[in-house]
Symmetry: C3
Subunit: 353 residues, 3 copies
């Protein structure tokens, strides 16, 4: 159960640099590749000739060629040609709206007629030279909503990430959650605390003392279908916190694009955007490796939580104040899914009458 009429991150450009990429997204088997003039394309990963996976093929003259018997596929799902064959009557396969933007490939697994590129989540930092970005991809065997819960309640940092970004004060600081249309914002401010190891390193990396009290903030922003962007940072205490001027703080945006693969597995694109020392590629890599280790700590927890929930489907979980971010996000997701389902029913009713 996931919204289908939405832009999801499907992959990153490096994943389709050498050859087509087969990837299941929202239960659809899709092949992604660079077609005409390097433009990204996406069609079903199923050759209409004999059902071979097109992702084992190659691109020639901007067209995807099946690696089994040479059927040439257009990016619209129609067969362009095949050696010694007339192809007019060949059945089409589905093509998927796909866009390359902000350093990601975005796919729309639902109704193509509704796929407006303007709906792609705007990422201001991605096109701004004062920012740098580094990130990675994890495959996790859990419902995408468990990851939304995880990211909309950073209380877990104290426990799951105790040695890097966790600290006792997260637990103790009140959390504030509000809903703004289809957005959910959960924020937490901790004033006058000592920074945990990850942030002490960031302060030093920014040329700031790391052994003095700081004001720390976390502002988690959920937007449908399942993106969570989190403003995080520390400023030397009393300099204005979140609002402090750049010379007093270290801050960044944690980027989380959660793309359902199936009902119980996800492609998790994680990363960090920062607006200090953007030209320092070594720093980008250091942060990426560090973040990768921290985020890997969630994997086992989420996969075992998923298995527990499948084993006890009748148990009602608690919805505490700290869970409000996830709970509100799920309500929005549920509303969208219900609306899509209703819209589908209307369409079916119309076409049946």
């Amino acid at each position: 159960m996931f919204p289908k009429n939405a832009w999801y991150v499907a992959c990153t450009p490096d994943e389709i640099a050498e050859k087509p990429l087969g990837r299941k997204i929202c239960n659809e088997s899709i092949v992604f590749y660079r077609g005409h003039e390097g433009r990204v394309a996406a069609v079903e990963d199923f050759c209409p000739h004999r059902g071979a996976p097109l992702s084992l093929g190659f691109v020639q003259d901007g067209k995807l060629v099946c690696g089994y018997h040479g059927l040439v596929m257009e990016c619209d799902g129609k067969t362009a040609s095949m050696p010694n064959q007339r192809v007019q009557g060949f059945p089409s396969i589905r093509s998927f709206p796909v866009e390359e933007r902000y350093g990601f490939i975005w796919v729309w697994p639902g109704d193509p007629a509704k796929a407006d590129p303007a709906l792609i989540h705007h990422l201001e930092w991605a096109e701004n030279p004062e920012w740098a970005y580094g990130g990675g991809l994890y495959h996790i065997a859990c419902d995408y909503r468990l990851m939304v819960d995880n990211l909309m309640d950073l209380t877990h940092e104290t426990y799951v990430h105790a040695s890097s970004i966790g600290q006792k004060e997260i637990d103790e600081a009140p959390v504030n959650t509000r809903v703004d249309g289809e957005k959910v914002i959960t924020s937490r401010f901790m004033d006058g605390v000592m920074a945990p190891p990850f942030w002490r390193a960031a302060l030093r990396g920014n040329g700031l003392a790391d052994d003095v009290p700081v004001d720390r903030w976390q502002i988690c922003r959920f937007t449908p279908p399942s993106h969570v962007l989190i403003e995080v940072g520390v400023a030397h205490a009393g300099k204005g916190g979140y609002e402090a001027s750049p010379e007093h703080k270290a801050s960044s945006i944690v980027v989380d694009f959660i793309t359902p693969e199936t009902d119980t597995s996800i492609w998790y694109f994680w990363g960090m955007a920062r607006n200090f020392k953007p030209e320092d590629q070594e720093l980008t890599e250091t942060i990426r490796v560090g973040q990768g280790k921290i985020f890997a700590e969630d994997l086992e927890m989420l996969e075992q939580q998923q298995r527990n929930l499948l084993a006890y489907p009748e148990r009602n979980l608690l919805k505490l104040n700290i869970d409000a971010g996830g709970v509100q996000s799920r309500r929005i997701i549920d509303r969208i899914i219900a609306a899509e389902s209703e819209s589908d029913s209307t369409l079916i009713a119309r076409s049946a009458s």
Copy 2:
């Protein structure tokens, strides 16, 4: 199908020395840990907050802390506290009666009201300084009753363990099986035979000649739910066999605690208790390694047998005289399961009326 109102071996103390242990026993997911004053505790491996596995958490001040969001669990399954939360209304999870005794952690997966520690299988040798014990644990994908069959008919030693403890005379010696209440005893005596390699080594280890005829015995004792303890040994021929005085024999007790994980998998705790040279830890280790190799020979046989039985559920297996030990043990198990089921039905009928 297994008795639930029974003490099973769940783990050994070393398995919970560093951190909590998650283990499924009789289809129940359970976390074992050391709580207040080091006392062992066992609750469901399911946090009432969001379903995370408590076994990924840690123990603090004698209480189990969930490693996801810090819920603090009491050993009785009630939530003790959680940062910034009132926990009175939190649903409880199951706790399981658990005891540490004889170097094992024992768990009672059934009705806690019936869990009398006095019912734990008495192991005389475990508390006697004249005895030493060494053992290990195997996970095997088979019904626990296939392992009971295996151990209650040592004919298989001739074939599965031909190079260590097997010998042709096992086949040829008559086997005697008798039932004593809920116990089954199967015994076999082989007089005037040459000892196989394992026992020749044991004779030498005991300072006895290994190239003379011996009287050999095997006395297998089944007790519910699925424990099999086997007295085994050899004595120089004509010195009284099983009854021979210590200076003429080498003997020990093979210890087998078979704990169902699911209907088709087990935790198999195997070991050997001996009453010669109990202080010789090197000998304990040598025997343990040797026994581990011998007992590993059964794994593939049991797992493939299980697969065969699942593939042909309608086939009736033979019940020969050599199978009597397993057949009688299964009758006792069946009676116990039937009694538990009847008792459950009575309870349900009562609560429904």
Copy 3:
């Protein structure tokens, strides 16, 4: 769905040289071994005593001994003996007609009464000293008919095997398919082309120039249940092609015995028979290694194709002219399966009346 009354390749002699071999064929679990006077035998891999796999046992005095409790099995599925037991009343297990011929062990998984060894596919080259053979075995998770399709349409060489035996001219040459009783023959002739790498090496290996145009041929012959033998070769252009005399050509027979394991997996015995330099064992090995690499290129394609077909069972695949070889072969297979099914029904009707 596969013909059961047919001879399939079960294994090669080296696979039963040391000990019995357990292998599932056409959904039957079978143990193959050398019995009396080294003659190959095949019975169900299921001991009538306790369901243990007989393939974990050993052969003694020409009889298969169960490795669990020593039951001695005859090659006809009747128990010969068991230590200290009367075995007359023991239930029999199935035995399977089995023959060793042409360097392969052949098994008949259907009605033994119909198993005429004369029906084994005749392999002229296998008993002719002017020929040499080398081959191997792959386990592939696909319906056996997908492999028949694969081999009866060599168009795929251009794509799957582009760097070894593929060449663009295969696509362009017309393909001819004809049915001759229960045989299907698909042929393709390419005149005046440059040989691809594999064949250039073969020309050199045969002492022929490799940089001149050649006439190339592929003649694929399907015979039930699922054997495909392919005559392949190249001759210096204008010397008569397929009919050229030996000093002008390099040719061989690609051997493919496709044995269903289950409905979606196969044992694929592949190899090559050649009638040049038959005494050169180093060349046999070189060809075998090279062919093994080429044929391994099909594995991922076939397995992913199978997964695609299982995911979209309702999709109709195309049947183009290039697919005629597979389509006609499947028709013959379908007819045989239908006839077997009808024959079974008649038998059931008769025995019921």
